[in-house]
Symmetry: C2
Subunit: 437 residues, 2 copies
């Protein structure tokens, strides 16, 4: 008998300490390091003051390059097109299929301007427009994901953003052709091979070469995340992502190997990733644990999976699938798989989740690449109040108010009473000027 290397926590819904144990398992707070924050502030100040020169200097230092100007850190259109032809055929075709599907799904998210007229001729509405310019951060080195380029750039492109500026660091000069190919397919307009806090600062404030953007999206390390928090307000930012999570709800009738591998598909991301299985079938939980212990041995990233499953993974026994939905809503997971006979029956009970994967065939991994919906999703319980990245994140609204003379006269009276109630006399008088005598 071999020793099990994977030992996910075992929890039971009926245990009187269940909620406490679950909350302990979920607890995760991002490290806010004063030293990182100080460094990031210095970098931002230098980039604001010195522009290109600071960006080039930091890039040479941190990425071990020898560039002397931003020109050497700029990727031309031709290089993007070349990358598209340099990658293997099957990869290019897969990227194209994924890009097409992501584009066609996101087109359904476009929001249109609207207005209505009141009887006295007053017109009210909202004008919906794309942002002018958006920055996309793509991590370099180990975790360089072409799929992230598609997922971040295509919604901006579909929204009609005029200029999508991508930054991707190239430590030691190593550039990933699949990432450049994805940029070409996704409609990215400009690419600079810079990264870190210096890239975020350059996008937020602009330099001689790098245009100032209106919003910055995309994942990054702690320096990038800290810099994004720091420039928030100067530009828009997307959510700061926590570790990836999957919660699988299973009725015990899906192939346990499938479920084990679905859990691993999140656990392999990093040691803090969280994979949880919830089932009303206790025997099935045992089976899946056995499958996990067998299958993990075949996987390249087994050390990461081991750390993730043993520290943050769990198998949870619930009395029924309704209780499983309660667990889902308490956790508000990034991904939930409803691997059950009738997922539609559970759907009305799911209140909080970034993405809902319905039925036994819908592996979460399909959603990461080519289902169509975005793989940038709210983590760490933030699905309680936030949404997948979408076209709506690259559009913004302006209220439209056009009073007729009659409407302004009527409403002037109402505004006058309320403004005087708030002791704002100039407000009141400005409204009163429009009241017909």
């Amino acid at each position: 008998m071999t020793t099990k290397i994977l030992k996910p926590a075992r929890l039971d819904f009926h245990d009187h300490e269940f909620r406490y144990q679950l909350d302990q398992l979920l607890a995760w707070e991002s490290v806010s390091d004063d030293k990182v924050q100080k460094t990031v502030k210095e970098i931002i100040t230098a980039v604001r003051r010195l522009g290109d020169k600071a960006v080039v200097d930091y890039t040479c230092r941190f990425d071990r390059l020898t560039a002397s100007s931003m020109k050497e850190l700029t990727v031309g259109d031709q290089q993007l097109q070349d990358a598209l032809h340099a990658i293997p055929d099957d990869q290019r075709k897969a990227l194209e299929t994924a890009a097409d599907r992501i584009r066609s799904y996101h087109k359904r998210q476009i929001q249109e301007s609207w207005h209505y007229k009141e009887r006295n001729g007053t017109k009210l509405g909202q004008k919906v427009q794309p942002m002018d310019r958006v920055g996309l951060y793509v991590p370099g080195g180990q975790a360089t994901y072409p799929s992230s380029v598609l997922m971040n750039a295509i919604p901006a492109h579909v929204a009609g953003v005029e200029e999508i500026v991508m930054v991707v660091p190239t430590p030691d000069g190593v550039i990933n052709n699949m990432v450049l190919a994805a940029a070409a397919l996704a409609g990215v307009h400009k690419v600079f091979t810079i990264g870190g806090a210096q890239a975020i600062a350059a996008l937020a404030y602009g330099t001689e070469t790098i245009p100032r953007v209106d919003k910055i999206v995309g994942p990054g390390n702690i320096y990038v995340a800290t810099a994004k928090r720091e420039v928030f307000g100067q530009v828009g930012i997307d959510m700061i992502a926590g570790p990836s999570e999957i919660l699988v709800v299973c009725d015990g009738l899906t192939d346990p190997d499938w479920i084990a591998m679905d859990l691993f598909s999140q656990a392999e991301h990093d040691e803090d990733a969280q994979a949880i299985l919830v089932s009303d079938d206790l025997e099935f939980l045992h089976e899946v644990e056995d499958c996990m212990n067998r299958l993990v041995l075949e996987l390249e990233r087994k050390d990461i999976i081991k750390a993730s499953v043993n520290h943050r993974g769990a198998l949870i026994h619930v009395p029924n699938l309704k209780a499983a939905c309660e667990v889902v809503n308490h956790i508000a997971p990034e991904h939930v798989e409803l691997s059950v006979a009738d997922p539609e029956a559970l759907l009305p009970h799911i209140r909080h989740a970034g993405a809902i994967f319905m039925g036994r065939h819908t592996a979460e991994a399909l959603g990461d690449y080519c289902a169509g919906p975005n793989h940038v999703l709210p983590t760490s319980g933030t699905a309680r109040f936030s949404s997948p990245l979408g076209v709506y994140d690259f559009q913004k609204r302006s209220s439209l108010i056009h009073f007729s003379a009659k409407g302004a006269s009527e409403m002037g009276k109402v505004a006058s009473v309320l403004a005087r109630g708030e002791s704002l006399t100039a407000h009141a008088r400005s409204a009163e000027f429009r009241i017909k005598k």
Copy 2:
């Protein structure tokens, strides 16, 4: 001849230093004070640890009260209804009219779930749902605005949020009946008379009495703003507001008294507020300046107006209205008035503004109270990337993915290629399990 007390800056579009001068005038950064931050962190830690007790202690200390439990800091339903009947008739009616109009405008912002089916039976879409519970911060003391209660609470109520929790400090025990009346009309479910960082901490983490919310909205002082930034991630927050701004574009044919008072209606908010007039008629700019100097003498808040206009106000001469639109887009103002003969002709050129007030009759003040659209708007140029507060801020989305067996098999092949391209083997194998042999 009297001395002019108001001296707004004079800028000319054709001046070669125009852009620089304008940027100097616009420059505004919120003060980030280490001492405030330290105090706020201590308060949050205490509230997380001690719950109600800490909230009661801080409230007694900061608001000079003598409460001994949260019960004494809770406003009952009856008290809300009583407030509605205690205020003067004209105020109640004005609040009711405003609430009705805000409600009917915001109902048009409700977003619905959607999905579509592909030929092989695969279903894709988004489930749109309201948040469970939302916190609304209302400042106490001087700047207590019932209109803000309506503007923040009604969109949440229209979205279908189950529980809207309002907090409003009552320094020295002074409570504003008009604010309570607005809460009753807007559908607020619970009211606590607490404020400051302790109220934000209580809403973000929950205490024995105060329920944990999913999002916190509403304006507040520097302690409140700092606390909101601090709990962001644990809960959602709205934008941190800067000082109020108005930019009026006028063709010189509106009554200059109207324009002067419209500028004052923002300038009277606070000394950092910004009021700017842009016109292609130089003579008109002089006229408005004269009107401002005459009218200001009649206003209660003339000292605030004087500080605001003399430090941050401006009269800008432009060669034509197209240039005026360029100025609008560069500033991305919170409010823009198009006080011209044909505002519809300018509208397509307005790219960035929180709210657009069309025509000579549409005083900005009408929008503050009863036009219908929200008065919580992006400030300090953030209209480049953000939107008025709306129902969409209280709804959130979950992606829906339901693959048919056939769809999962086809897409499994695509996902497999891409996952292996990213060296994520568990992702690949999870997808490959669904490929039909």
